[in-house]
Symmetry: C2
Subunit: 178 residues, 2 copies
């Protein structure tokens, strides 16, 4: 698939892989540490670690000769997954913590808990749906362009009931098949 | 699992679900629109849509009585997944587009392409690993606290080869089992 989000997902592979990356971002590196944290079967952990190495998100290093033992370190690409993880963590905290928050992000110096928000690096403006849209890039193929043509129609604000998509059906169809 | 990121993942369920949410964020709502975009088997699409409705990310609405036809609208919770999707898209664009970028995020008015970055909403500071850390929240259980104790040790800067975790092993062990 051409979508960069889909390509990123392909490299991460499975939920377990995201949790391995989470633990790696927290500082874990050895096989037994991942296993203790995740409670995952050794053969599955081996498979996921190898997959993350192949995808270039972790690199494998021997830290003991006898017996041979390896540790797994984040590459630049793996460490950069931190932004995705933070966004996922913030979303989970907003919606799936009926019993209170268990993990927060805090300023190391002051201990102040922060509320993560995605902004445009150049202007600092929040990347709200109202002001920003998805657009085809220079490498977009026809399928991608077609899908993104829909995004050009700004959807109305969401409500608990969902947005009234049916009310704007006719207008959108016009754009889609133009 | 207590980790809010893991809980969020549970609700999303599968890669296909993330791509369905992507399409919903782009404005798609009808079964045939999702099918056309994703090229997914109808029974699998039905299953994923139902799962997203159960998780409270989409809501189902009848738009035709005869024949009965439904559309799927993002709930507030589903629409809020946009931040995770944007972070994933940006990561994918940075690392998995050797043939050029196919999807970008742009200012609707000016068309300027933006570089998404996660910052603290209150101060606007980038949530870099150097300045911010994961900390246990009020609802953290012992397992979560143990895992996060590792994060308190700031890992050195990443390199293409990965970070030299073995060199700080002894110090970290001391903290971990303290």
């Amino acid at each position: 698939m051409q979508c960069p989000a889909a390509r990123g997902l392909e490299r991460v592979g499975e939920w377990w892989s995201i949790l391995i990356l989470r633990d790696a971002l927290h500082g874990l590196s050895r096989f037994d540490e991942f296993q203790e944290s995740l409670g995952i079967a050794p053969n599955m952990l081996t498979r996921r670690l190898n997959s993350l190495v192949e995808a270039g998100l972790l690199s494998r290093h021997r830290y003991s000769e006898r017996p041979p033992r390896y540790e797994y370190r984040l590459t630049d690409r793996g460490r950069d997954f931190r932004s995705v993880f933070l966004a996922l963590l913030a979303w989970g905290n907003r919606h799936f913590t009926p019993d209170g928050k268990s993990v927060l992000i805090a300023d190391k110096k002051t201990g102040a808990v922060v509320d993560p928000v995605l902004v445009d690096r150049a202007t600092g403006r929040e990347l709200s749906e109202r002001d920003f849209e998805f657009v085809p890039g220079p490498a977009a193929n026809q399928r991608t362009r077609k899908r993104l043509a829909l995004a050009a129609q700004p959807p109305p604000m969401a409500t608990e009931e969902g947005r009234p998509a049916s009310q704007r059906r006719r207008k959108r169809r016009g754009t889609r098949h133009a």
